[in-house]
């Protein structure tokens, strides 16, 4: 089968294992991420794995794209260690604060800058934002069809992928023509582990970096000011509940709780 030109979009996110360390600065109402390491968004590892697998089946090239601060370079090096052929970091202060559409515009410009693509793969959603919007929006901007939350994936022939998607009521096998953008769910594959040798070798390779000046992008449509959506305010949920703490031995608290709840017999709680 003909080799594919595959682009994989990844997002560096604060390490989910340390997400309990995320705090809100009460003065600026922004997220304090200081000291929390960046990792590749978990579903994006599945996207990269899908790209590498397709490449291993029939040659081709896998290029990773990410719009992120300069600190993400190390994260992108990891994608090279996993098996990506090249990694492109789109980094510029003018990109900062962009919503999903502003982000998709930068990614679309980066993709166009680097050539033409048969297949673009994204994780279905990010661990931190979780909107699942960048994938479909990127496809619209590139003028190609898309399928989201792909849970199975197979190359059918030169120009088609056979994918399985699942909505609330049905699983569907779809034969989709390339070029195509897909976003993948965790069920699609098991991402490979990084080898130490791979990491060492990847460190010698360079991540390609572009700023806004390098890209065919309209400055009016990117970053915080170019985003159609704005965050007006942040607020915490004020619970009206006043907790009553029960204390004592396990047996004592068990008795107290069941008494408080008026539970004297097995409920018909189904």
């Amino acid at each position: 089968m003909r080799p594919l030109r595959i682009a994989v979009c990844v997002k560096p996110v604060p390490d989910p294992k340390e997400s309990n360390r995320l705090q809100i600065d009460p003065a600026t109402k922004t997220l304090v991420r200081k000291g929390i390491p960046l990792v590749i968004n978990p579903l994006d590892r599945h996207a990269l794995e899908a790209g590498i697998k397709l490449k291993e089946e029939a040659e081709g090239k896998v290029t990773v794209f990410s719009m992120a601060p300069p600190a993400a370079e190390q994260t992108l090096t990891e994608t090279l260690a996993m098996g990506a052929d090249e990694a492109v970091l789109l980094s510029d202060l003018r990109f900062a604060g962009g919503d999903t559409l502003a982000t998709a515009r930068v990614l679309a410009a980066g993709l166009k800058k680097m050539g033409e693509w048969d297949l673009i793969i994204c994780g279905a959603e990010s661990f931190d934002g979780g909107t699942a919007q960048v994938g479909p929006q990127l496809a619209v901007l590139l003028g190609i069809p898309w399928l989201t939350r792909v849970c199975q994936l197979k190359r059918e022939d030169d120009n088609h992928l056979l994918v399985t998607v699942e909505d609330e009521t049905e699983q569907r096998d779809l034969l989709a023509q390339l070029p195509l953008l897909i976003t993948v769910d965790s069920a699609v594959n098991q991402p490979r582990r990084l080898s130490l040798l791979g990491i060492l070798a990847a460190r010698k390779r360079k991540v390609i970096t572009f700023t806004a000046d390098d890209l065919p992008v309209d400055l009016a449509g990117i970053g915080l000011n170019g985003s159609p959506t704005q965050t007006r305010d942040l607020f915490t949920h004020e619970s009206t509940k006043k907790v009553e703490l029960l204390t004592g031995s396990p047996q004592q608290v068990a008795i107290q709780l069941l008494d408080k709840l008026g539970l004297t017999e097995k409920g018909a709680g189904q």
Binding site: I24, P145, K242, L258, L261
Partner: protein
Amino acid sequence: MKAVWVFAEHQLGQWTSVTRELLTTARSLADELGGELIAIVCGDEVENLVSTLSNWRVNRVYLTEHKGLTYYHPLIYTEVITGLVEKFGCPEMILFGATYLGRDLAPAVAARLGTGCAADCCELKLDQDGNLLQIVPGLGGTIFATIVTPHHRPQVATVKPGMLETGEPTEIKAGATGEVPLEIVRFEAPIPKDTPAIQLREVRRKPPKEAKLEAAARVVAGGAGLGGPEGWALVEELAEALGAVVGCTRPAVDEGWAEHDLMIGQSGKTIRPELYIGIGISGDMMHMVGIKGKGTLVAINQDPKAAIFNQVDYGIVGDYRQIVPALIQELKSRA
């Protein structure tokens, strides 16, 4: 006239639950704006379903029937909706349920129209200027954010099922006062001939899902603090003794203790139980946002500073490995 559009989604010949919720809320928004409520319906042979929309005082339906709309094709559906905007003018907002289809279609429509899209809203209201306030849990689930799209129209949003506080059903019985005559406008889909094909090879109907968690009167939920599958087994045992349904937070799914179907919260189910017991759950907003209603909430957690203790009626600080077995034993002795 200002218009509020709702993408009325149907599955297996019925409106989805979130479509009903959206129509109720959208009717109030339209009334507040002094505008019209318009439903967008796509599909093949769906006209009989359309007539039921008068229950929600829908003013008009834009109905597109086409063989190519039987199954969701992202490009074709996007063409239909952007085609409607082009033909009938730009509405104030287009609202979608945050279903598989809605979360796929809404951002695409927004990108085509160059406007904003707010994902997975849990509340919608208007500010004094008539801007839509789109409330979403944000920033890692620790806080809520109000998203606005001040300079672009339409304002596009997806709304999570089960979240809107619709109160008592406001469906109006046929013939009652206040009924609005339903106008059905047929729309030919402007589907370009060169639309890339996405061919359906096979469809497998999933077993009808029982809305067990959503309907449960009692829920016992477990989270990261369980520490392992043995802890999950205790959660199940307590649920059994209580006649409750089990639920969980994301870490329990990620660790493989629990099925994804059991997740409660922003990316999972919305529950309205009479009794909720959270075990080893920190009280992250991402989870708590999925617990609605006026039920009694209980937390068992080793960490006295866990945020969940600010959000429940009864709290027990301690090791669940001792407390849960004691609860099970006490329940059995009372049975």
